[in-house]
Structure formats: C-alpha cells, structure tokens
Amino acid sequence: MKKIEAIIKPFKLEEVKDRLRQVGVSGMTVYEVKGFGRTGGKTEVYRGSAYVVDFVPKVRIEVVVPDSMAADVVAAISAAAKTGKIGDGKIFVTPIEEAVRIRTGERNEDAI
C-alpha cells in the first residue's frame, strides 16, 4: 500500500476530489495548512506597510491506495491540481506498513 500526500492550492480541491473518484479512490483526508516552497510567498499591503507573507494557505490531501493504483493516483492529482503558475504544490509517496478498518477489523488491502 502507498500513502499519497499532495499539497495543492485550496481552490483545486473539488477538482482533485472528483478526478480521484473517477480513478477509483474511495476515501481521503484533507487538512488546511500553510506553507511555502522555493518561489516564496506574496506581498500584502496594509495601510502603506508592505509585508512579505511567507506562509500561503494550502490544502493537504492524503489518500492510501493499493500499490497498483499509486501511479494512476499521482497522475490524476497532478493533472487536476495543475495551473501552470507558481504555488501549484507537491506530491509525496510513502509506503504504508499496515492498515485497519476500525469498524470491521479488516486489514491491509481490504481496509482501503
């Protein structure tokens, strides 16, 4: 199993969710986060004082899928979340050792 973690622009969440559903992903967890990457933050001006705001609001999505689906999921998220402008985000893939469905006790691939 693989956990696919994606940091994306908040307004792209709906599109990514729909695309993941098409690909066969049945669940996800989302967080509101803040962050920045290589291209830095943005400038906001309040009453003449300009501030460089490093931390930009983002959404983090986590899905856990069987190994066979991982590549499709990464491709789906990339396509749906891309705008071509800075701040599009990143995707990370990590291995998952074990999974449990709490309600039924099913384990591993039956749990996701």
């Binding site: 906001e44 001006v45 309040y46 009453r47 003449g48 004082s49 501030y51 460089v52 705001v53 490093d54």
Partner: protein, 488 residues
Amino acid sequence: MKNITRTTVAAVLAAWLLVVLLGAGVAFAQSPTPAAAAAAPPTNAELAARLADVEAYVTNGTPKTLQSSGPGHNAWMMTSSALVLFMTLPGLALFYGGLVRRKNVLSVLAQCLGCAGLVTFLWWLIGYSLTFAPGSSILGGAKFAFLSGVSALPNPDYAAWVSQNVFAMYQLMFAIITPSLIVGAIAERMKYSAIMLFILLWMFIVYFPLAHMVWGVDGLMNGVWNAKAAIKAIDFAGGTVVHMSSGWSALTLCLILGKRKGWGSRAFLPHSLVLTMVGTGMLWVGWYGFNAGSAVAADGIAANAFMTTTIATAIACCVWPLLEWVTRGKPTVLGFCSGAVAGLVVITPATGFVNATGAVIVGVLAGAVPFLACTKLKSIFKYDDALDTFGVHGVGGTLGALVTGFLATPEVNANLNTNLAGIVRHTLWLEQLKAIGLTLVLSVGATALIASIVKAVIGLRPTLEGEEAGLDETDHGEVGYHYDEVAG
C-alpha cells in the same frame, strides 16, 4: 322592616356608592389648592412670560423663570450619550480588535472595557468637577466632586434644557473614548497594569485640564463662550480635546515604549478585517451622538452637525480607497474603514460650525492627508504606531482644528458672533494654531513624563516571551477563539 327586600337594600347601597364616587370625582377634578379657586386668573404679562419660556424650550433659548430640563433635549442627549458609549463599546473595540493579531484580540477589548470602568470612577470622584466646574482657566474646582449638586436640573453654564446629570454622563463618554484611542498605537506590547496606570495619570494631567480649557465655562481656550478666553479658539466636538490629545500622546507613548518584536521583518496582519469593518460602521453611527450631541440640545445646530458629519465621512470614506486605487492598483476595505474614521475625526471640531460645502472640503482633505500620513510617515521615520492612532487621530485632529479656523461661519452657528465676531472668517485660524500648539505641547510633554514615571515604577512592557505568546494569554489568561480547535 319585613317589607324591605334584599333588592331594595342593594339598590340603596348602590345609589350611596354612586353618590360617593361622583363626589370623589368632583373633588379630584377641582384644583388641589382650595385657594386657587378664589385666585385671580393670570395676567397677560404672566402668560406672555410663561409662553416665552416655553418658546425658549423649543428654540433652545435661555428661560427667564422656568427651571426644568426639556424633554426633547434631554431625550436627544441621553440617546447621544448611549451612542458615544457605543463608539467605544464595541465600536472602537472591534475596529482595533480586528486590526491586531489573533493572539492579542482580547487585550484590546479588555483595554476598552477597563477604560470605561476606570474613567467612570474618576469622573464621579472629581473628574467631572475638574473639567466642568468653574475654577481657574486651566482647571475646574471641586464643586461637583462625587457629582454632588449634579441633578436633573440644567446647569445654565452649559445647557438651558439638558439635565446636568445627563450632561455629565454625556461628557463622561468622551472622557472614556479619548484614552481608549491611545491604546491603538501601543497595541500588542504594553502590559495591562501599565496601561491602566498610565491612563489614570493621563486623565488628571492631560484630559481634565484640556477639556476644561476648551469646554469649561471659564476655560482658557473656550473662544465661543468665554469672553475672557486667552486663546479664542473653537472646537465643536473635540478635535483638540479628543483627537489631537490622544493622537499626539499615542505617538509619544509608542516612541517611549518601542517597537513590537519583529516589527519591520515579520508580517503583522489584521486578523479580522470583518471585525474592523463592523467596528467602523458602529463608530460612524455612534459618531452622530459625538458630533450632533455636542450641540447639547436637539436644535438646528445639532441638525447641521448631523448633516456635515454624514457628508464629510462618506466622502473621506471613498477618497482614501480612491487614492489606493490610483497609487497601488486596488481599493481595500481597510482603506474604506480608515477613510471613514479619518472623515469622522477631521469633521469633529468643525461639525457645528461649517456648512455642507465646508463638509465636502473637509471630507476630501480627510481622505487624503491622513492617507499620506499613514502610508508615508511610518516608513520614513520608522516608528511602530501599531494601529495608526497618530496617523488618523493625531494628524486628522490637527488638520480638523486648523481647517475649522478657515471654514467656520456664523451663518451656520450664530453663537460664533457672541465673542468672536471680529475674527471669525478672518484671523480665527491663528487662534486655532495657538490652541493646536498648546494641545500638542501638553499632550507630548505630559505623556513623556507619565510614561517615564510608569516605566520606572512598574515597567511598560511584558516579558519577551509574554509578548510572543500574546497578551490575551499573558495578561488575561484567555483565548479569543476556540472554534477551530480539534480537541474540544
């Protein structure tokens, strides 16, 4: 006796009851003083005198014999008092509260609430007396200490038809909001105990004397009403007393206090411009009590103040964001809010003295000059006036006081002819300059002194960790918002 039926007895009793009630009714309808029935009807002269006093009530003139408050004027002044308190609680509290970082929102609210409590106590104790009792030209006496003698009867020194206790409460609301304005400049890095001690001293050394000089019946700078005023200046609702004093004191205090940790390198963003806008609306509405109520009557001068307040504020409200649009590409909500408050500030000393066109001029200046002050002065001189108290109230109040000298006209307010006929529309602006100078020197000097005393006695700032953690936690042990937390 056997022939007397129950019905007969009941009828007799009913008739007796009817006679008694009729007799009582007749007795009540008669004049309470039996002698009156025999007195002569009032003469034409007596009637004319009484009618003249009633007309004086309607026109806000001085009555000759009638000693009473007037219901309409009293009602307006009680309403105005509530409106001005509304400006502080919660208008200013939300306006400032929204501008600070989330971890300091409660500290702003606590400072406004604390001002209300502390100043009210001082006002009752001796504050009202020091401000409005006759005394010297600089400070009133103790005649009204503990509000003794301050009853429902008017004090003719200040109003013909407003109860003195209502007048005292109205003025109290001004005394509350003035120090509350100062907290904007020193937000997020002055500890609560120091703020309260500072305000306690500041009221005695700055506010009571200044308000007495400008509005006291024998005040040094009361140009309209004090024929012996050394400085024949005018200030309708508090351009000098409220805005200049708080603005320049705020500047002085924030310079002595120092900058917030991280100022200049970190972004200190308003945590809720929504709250700020809500506060702005409340300030605008409440300000009608502040400005139109300063007529201390429900009369034509109040009506004029209502109109000029509206015009100047609305125009300034749009000029500021217009300048943002032109210079920076986008009008901001903060710009609308700042413009509105600036308009309200600058029209304050002029509101009962200028006409509609004067109000337009004030509005344009109010949107432009404080805009420049807020956007340029801080970056040039690098001082941390956190919420632009100096930029809006200090600069705006000074501008308003000066412009009033040029735009005031007796056509709007005939009281300007009582003692100032020679200089109004002429050299009044010179007197305004003198008042500005005195106010500035008093505010800056006294604040420097008081701040030094407080700093020496209990210190001004929280610890560095305390400041970083936020004053809500450090001074009040509270959190403003829990709704977004995961656990509970």
